[in-house]
Subunit: 351 residues, 2 copies
DNA sequence: AAAAATTACGCAATCGATTGTGTAATCTGC
DNA sequence: GCAGATTACACAATCGATTGCGTAATTTTT
């Protein structure tokens, strides 16, 4: 299944058409061509028309590399995320891309795989390629933020999304994790759950810290005793970990009657495990997740969860980057906080 | 929730360190610095050491824009895909990115959202940004391929993945859709299914055409009559369409006893619809999908499907692009075909 | 010791677009 | 009809790294 074809000979290595070629054909200077293509006021209407006609005819395409070098800025926005194949993350990217494209920017994506070293390497590579802005959702491991300093020092805007660095002064787009977790926990309490467990992520990341706080606050508010053995932390709340945690919770002497999971992946595993063991959901065990992943509607019973405005977050982050890259002088750092929504489905509906 | 901070004043607008700065400090020429940084043989060991020391001290980072302009090539690979938030696609991208990063390349991603116009616009933007290679999985609508000609004419490699253009002479990375569909259909027949329906996609795309051919071939091989009313084509096999198609099939006078869906999304909808209607799976209706999306393991009963080596396909596509961009002279176009695997799960296990 | 070879570096053009400044040519006002 | 204003374009430097070619200094060869 291999086909071979040869060169056309004449067609190949024909260098791209430049403004110099157009200038030569029209016997004007390259600067005139450059300005004409941008409808500069100092160029006559006729000349603009002529230039554009020739450009069209010759198939001229601007070399943005050259422009970038001259202007010291590219039309590229860098993005560093953990894993692209997570529903929340790919929606985030969609939002970033949509907003960036609208403004004539391309998006360069790199995955940290939740490793600090990768994040540093990616940041460096993106810096070298002279991106004009960076959107970051931090890796699970990250605790030091020095790798973002080169951007700051060179006035390249850095915007954090979702997984942000409190210690680092820059734009942020987040959700109210505390409130969302409080809502979710309160909902479980209202459904009559008394022994509510928490499956949480790394305490290095704001999103998990804040969700834990919300969970604890709700329990306190309703005078429900907090039990350490009902709280589990995991560095990667994947399906496998979910089963492990489910086994731990459900083989306790007094197992929880509800679990709040900080992501849907683990929550789904809880339901699957419980179903295997013949534990009724939500009667014997109520489960609520976080993110509103597609799987939350596929699992039976459907999973209650907290919806994350992922695309909107991506759009806002991109807008922040673009705005910051325009106004180089006055730098104003702001944190945008978006609303979440509690989605009550069968996995917690006891009443 | 808004914080404001002012400029440092002295820190800002400090232009990046260039080889000229290093040259000045060491009182040598920029060319020497450039060569020293690349361990050029004509530079003495001591000079190389000196240059690197100063570069390190001053925090020098190469300006790849400048290098790109001079070399007429970037370290960026462009990717055009339909939707990033599909499991298959994001895995594909992961593979591309891994391989590209390994070779020191960045990946620029753009989504066509399955629209031809978007695909053309994305191709143009990527061309302007002077990517050194392009990986494409075609939009559903695409029927003309002229927008890829500028790349070909300028020796920029274009590699198609999964959704390829038969008419277009370039590298391709695909799976054996015919064989996969044949296997899937044969499996249904072996389970005793006699009235096997097909939920298919747009005939513009090879993957759906080939899968339909495989389905038809299997039916013929086993002397099962082919009924047109058992074959449905949809331009977007999403969940909603899945329900619509399920309704059509299951409200027929003689409904099918099995459905082969060319993607998992629709297959999952079939199962959900059937469960709602009290139709037993797989006894009354066997369902098999395609792609091995995460949902296929979440749905109850678990979905039989065909696994797609997405990451591997991405890696191979990136490798092809990188290889092609090295050898400008002899262009050899090849099609790589990967194996798929039939995953038999509860949704088709009748025996 | 003179010639040849090698070592180690500098000079200057180049990639393509951008832009501040300069300058003819045309136009305006009185 | 002439100074001054305006129009419409050209000149040339610039962004930062790369690289063919040139050359002085040192080493090797015979």
């Amino acid at each position: 299944m291999v086909t071979i074809y040869e060169n056309d000979g004449e067609m190949k290595n024909k260098k791209g058409v430049t403004i110099y070629d157009i200038a030569q054909e029209l016997k004007v200077s390259p600067s005139t061509v450059s300005r004409a293509l941008k409808d500069h006021f100092s160029i006559s209407k006729e000349m603009i028309k002529e230039v554009k006609k020739v450009a069209q005819k010759r198939g001229y395409r601007p070399n943005s590399i050259a422009a970038s070098l001259r202007n010291n800025r590219t039309n590229n926005i860098g993005v560093i995320i953990s894993w692209i194949n997570r529903p929340f993350v790919s929606s985030l990217i969609s939002g970033i891309e949509e907003e960036a494209n609208k403004a004539g920017y391309n998006v360069i994506i790199s995955q940290s795989h939740d490793s600090f070293d990768n994040e540093v390497a990616n940041a460096r590579a993106l810096y070298d390629s002279r991106i004009s802005g960076l959107v970051v959702s931090l890796a699970m491991e990250t605790q030091s933020y020095d790798h973002f300093n080169p951007f700051i020092q060179n006035n390249i805007p850095v915007v954090f999304v979702d997984r942000v660095a409190d210690e680092f002064n820059s734009d942020k787009v987040v959700i109210d994790n505390f409130a969302a977790a409080y809502m979710a926990t309160e909902h479980l309490i209202e459904q009559g759950c008394q022994r509510i467990a928490l499956a949480c992520g790394s305490q290095y990341r704001n999103i998990y810290r804040e969700r834990e706080s919300g969970y604890l606050a709700a329990l306190r508010e309703y005078n429900i005793p907090i039990k350490d053995e009902y709280i589990v932390h995991s560095d990667s709340l994947n399906a496998q970990e979910g089963f492990r945690i489910a086994e731990y919770f459900l083989s306790m002497e007094t197992p929880p009657d509800a679990i709040f999971s900080v992501n849907d992946t683990a929550a789904v595993s809880f339901i699957q495990y419980a179903k295997e063991k013949g534990i009724k959901i939500p009667e014997e065990l109520a489960v609520i997740g976080f993110n509103n992943d597609p799987v939350s509607l596929i699992i039976d019973p459907q999973l209650s969860t907290v919806s994350h405005p992922a695309i909107e977050m991506g759009k806002l982050a991109a807008q922040q980057v673009l705005k910051q890259s325009q106004y180089k002088d006055v730098v104003k750092s702001e944190a945008i906080m978006l609303r979440t929504e509690l989605l009550v489905r069968a996995s917690t509906k006891r009443k």
